[in-house]
Amino acid sequence: MTQTVGPTSEPEAESATAQKDNATAGALGTGTSDVRTLLTRNLRTSGIYIAFVVVVALFAILTGGTSLSPGNITNIVLQYSYILILAIGMVIVIIAGHIDLSVGSVVAVTGATSAVIVIRHDQPWWVGVLAALAVGLAIGAWHGFWVAYVGIPAFIVTLAGMLLFRGLTLQILDNISLSPFTPEYGKIASGFSNGLLGGNGFDAFTLLIFGVAVVVYAVSQFRTRQARVRYNQPVPSFPLFVAQIVVVAAVVMAFAYQLATARGLPYVLVILAVLILVYGVVTKRTVFGRQVYAIGGNLAAATLSGVKVKVVNFWIFVNMGFLAAVAGVVFSSRSNGAQPGAGNSFELDAIAAAFIGGAAVTGGVGTVVGAMVGGLLVGVMSNGMQLMGVDQSIQSMVKGLVLLLAVAFDVYNKRRAGSGR
């Protein structure tokens, strides 16, 4: 009797546990996602990261490692910081379905304002910076007024602004360059924190700052994950999560080590990091950011959902003016003066960064981080080609093709998604 009971009851018990396992597996299956689904689901956004890694590796090989040398990495940061600052504002403008062609001229006019005040009128450096930011905000409000409240397409308004503020720069500077700035002003773009904590051949302070940043990043990621788990949201499996943190930490610390062995932590990198952080949060986590995406995604639906479209559009341009002024300060500091032709075609680099970074021409799509990677991709490419001594003309052609391919990829993706319906 017991023998007959045994075999029958065992499978029952087994199937019960199997069911339970299935249930947990099912819950986990919906609760976690593996590397492949993460990649394929986000091909549009992950594509840019893959491309960036490929480009970095390619130029590291082509230049025999020079492109990754401490001095060169520092150089890239200094050289492209103002484009990246512009790209932060530009990607927001583009997400909302607009464009801003004037930022190059705004960089020039804000830099010139600052130069006139600091150099010609012998004011302290911070007066120049504040004046430049005020001018940038005013220009942003001017553009925002015409776009949001009069209803003129941003293309036209900012094309006019491009001419207007280039002309104003020439007026302010009397058509000649102004230089040099005071050493304090120059430090904004060319200053480093070096030797604060000493170090053997490298700046320990830089490593410390980056170390703290990595820890903060890991903790905040972990807390976000915990919160998502609490709300029964899908999260990456724990090993994958740890792997992601480790990879990011390794890359960041390697970058930090290279900076530390060169000249230390550039102040401009701190400015840039703060801006990326702040605007990353603004676009992802605030009501304002959400409304920007809504306007670009479907203007009519946003209007009928109670979004005050005019107000949002206005502030988008005010913000762009502000960031253009920040870029203007950084650029004038780096070039140690103001030139009538400063910032020429910066708008195109910023626009290219946003689009290469995954922003959609039709609006509603794009991220600040994507635009940063897009901008860095162009930066690493240009820098690599310069190191290799590639002719300026070829560089320009390569950049043009990369932009075209990036947007073609976007259009192709969208069509594929559309036919998938």
Partner: protein
């Protein structure tokens, strides 16, 4: 003596999942005015698109015989070549081009070296304009003309193509009474010159006045063709043919317990955004807590315009009218104020106006209620997801996760996202504009069930629908709207499709 210029035999046209036309037969006599009537979505426009080659031969079943010959049009150029010209409800004129340029667009008068001979073109255009009774210079840009005159330019354009059969789709829908009367007179004049016309119209008085025969289409099938010379054929007779459908859909049961008045609209009047006419004309209605109120009206009656105008003046130019919520007057001057006042409006075109198709369910769901899900300007992403999960559960939205992209959902599920989105704003009144358009029967039933749950919880619901059985199936009361005016109000117990249709087509007496 029967001498048909056109015979359409057993036309069947299928769209994925829907039979738009089934065995439709239409016979039009030479030199007559033939009217086609039917409810919204009955298949009138589809039939005309088959005839004019918009849906090319091979895309449908059945045959078309024109002037005694079986024809198969590959496109609109073929049908125009044969002498069939269709004038669509939305005029196809280029506003910045002159009258003459528009008339000869695509068939330009060529002179020497293949260049356009503008003197000839303008002279010819002038002749055509005189024949349609339009006293305008052929060089005037079309955009400077009113809609009525633009309609005449379209007809002149048709005449320039040596038209034998003229199809007019809702020609008077956007016209005022004087222009309508002029147009109808012109169609009569063309008939006397031997030009056959097919006219699609919701205005049954006009059909009664002008048509020789009327073919009625219902649910994609021909019902009957009436001889308008017959004394017994009246507007009522046409209406009976149009609505004679059984209440075959299934509606969930609901007990009705209307409570306090929630929203009242008085004398609401709205002007068209660009034209000088009132789209909504002194409309008044009210809705109570726990009540479903229907608004019935044909295309162009101003239903959507009325709803959108109430919802924060989102349509046209507000002229006058008062809006009361819970007996207190409110001024909802923009959408945000309307939402604050407790009004929600789910649009008739969810893809175009309701949803951000490239974004996910959670973010669409929260789009109108971000202030509820945020503190000091920061969105609480976890609360947002939680709200979306609740919406997904209570609405039974079929999607893998709330991070699914809305554009990839089916129509029924998209509509549920829209409903969930508006419920999140915790409104007192929900105005649902065509809530079941383009979604399948099962999903319709689910939407009705959701509506029932809403009113059971004390909300007030206004449903705008083209489907009369739907209104009769789910509403407590139905208002009828015609040419922007409320023409009647019936408790559903006293309403049937014929009575509603009679009120929906009631209009001012024809001028002239």
């Amino acid at each position: 003596m029967s001498d048909p210029i056109l015979e359409m035999r057993s036309i069947t046209k299928t769209f994925p999942g829907v039979k738009a036309l089934q065995d439709v037969t239409l016979s039009v006599e030479r030199g007559e005015v033939h009217a086609i009537c039917g409810e919204n979505g009955a298949g009138k426009s589809t039939l005309m698109k088959v005839l004019s080659g918009v849906y090319p031969a091979g895309d449908y079943e059945g045959e078309i015989v024109f002037e005694g010959q079986v024809v198969s049009f590959g496109g609109i150029r073929d049908s125009e070549h044969a002498g069939i010209v269709i004038i669509h409800q939305e005029l196809a004129l280029v506003p910045y081009l002159s009258i003459a340029e528009n008339i000869f667009l695509g068939s330009e008068k060529r002179g020497k070296f293949g260049l356009i001979d503008w003197n000839l073109a303008n002279a010819e255009a002038g002749k055509l304009l005189r024949s349609v009774g339009l006293d305008e210079n052929p060089t005037t840009p079309v955009g400077q003309l009113g809609v009525g005159k633009q309609q005449l330019v379209e007809i002149a354009k048709a005449l320039s193509k040596d038209v034998k059969l003229l199809i007019l789709d809702e020609p008077t829908a956007a016209l005022n009474d004087t222009d309508s009367a002029h147009l109808l007179g012109l169609i009569r004049g063309l008939r006397d010159q031997g030009i056959t016309s097919i006219i699609i119209s919701h205005k049954l008085n006009e059909i009664d006045a002008i048509a020789d025969h009327t073919t009625i289409i219902r649910d994609g099938q021909t019902v009957e063709t009436l001889d308008m010379a017959d004394e017994s054929v009246t507007v009522d007779r046409i209406i009976r043919g149009m609505v004679g459908r059984a209440l075959d859909s299934y509606y969930p049961e609901r007990e009705s317990h209307p409570g306090e008045e929630v929203m009242r609209v008085e004398g609401w009047t709205v002007k068209h955004p660009t034209q000088d006419r009132m789209v909504v004309d002194h409309a008044s209605f009210d809705v109570r807590a726990g009540e479903v109120v229907g608004i019935a009206g044909l295309m162009g009656a101003g239903r959507t315009e009325l709803a959108m105008s109430i919802f924060g003046r989102s349509y046209g130019t507000f002229v006058e009218g008062r809006l009361f919520m819970h007996g207190k007057e409110v001024k909802a001057r923009n959408v945000a104020e309307a939402i604050d006042a407790g009004i929600a409006y789910a649009t008739e075109d969810r893809k175009k106006y309701g949803l951000n198709l490239i974004d996910d369910i959670a973010r669409n769901n929260s789009a109108a209620a971000l202030d509820k899900l945020s503190t000091r300007g920061f969105v609480d992403a976890n609360e947002e997801t939680k709200a979306a999960e609740e919406g997904r559960r209570s609405m039974n939205i079929k999607a893998p996760t709330v991070k699914s992209i809305v554009g990839k959902l089916s129509g029924g599920n998209q509509q549920k996202v829209v409903l969930s989105k508006w419920l999140l704003t915790d409104p007192d009144v929900l105005i649902l504009d065509e809530p079941t358009r383009g979604i399948d029967v099962g999903a319709k039933y689910e939407i009705y069930t959701i509506i029932n749950k809403l009113v059971a919880s004390g909300k007030a619901v206004v449903v705008i629908s083209s489907e009369l059985p739907e209104l009769l199936g789910i509403c407590d009361r139905v208002y009828t709207l015609s040419a922007g005016r409320i023409t009647g109000q019936l408790p559903v117990a006293e309403a049937d499709q014929e009575r509603l249709m009679t009120l929906m087509t009631q209009e001012k007496e024809l001028v002239g």
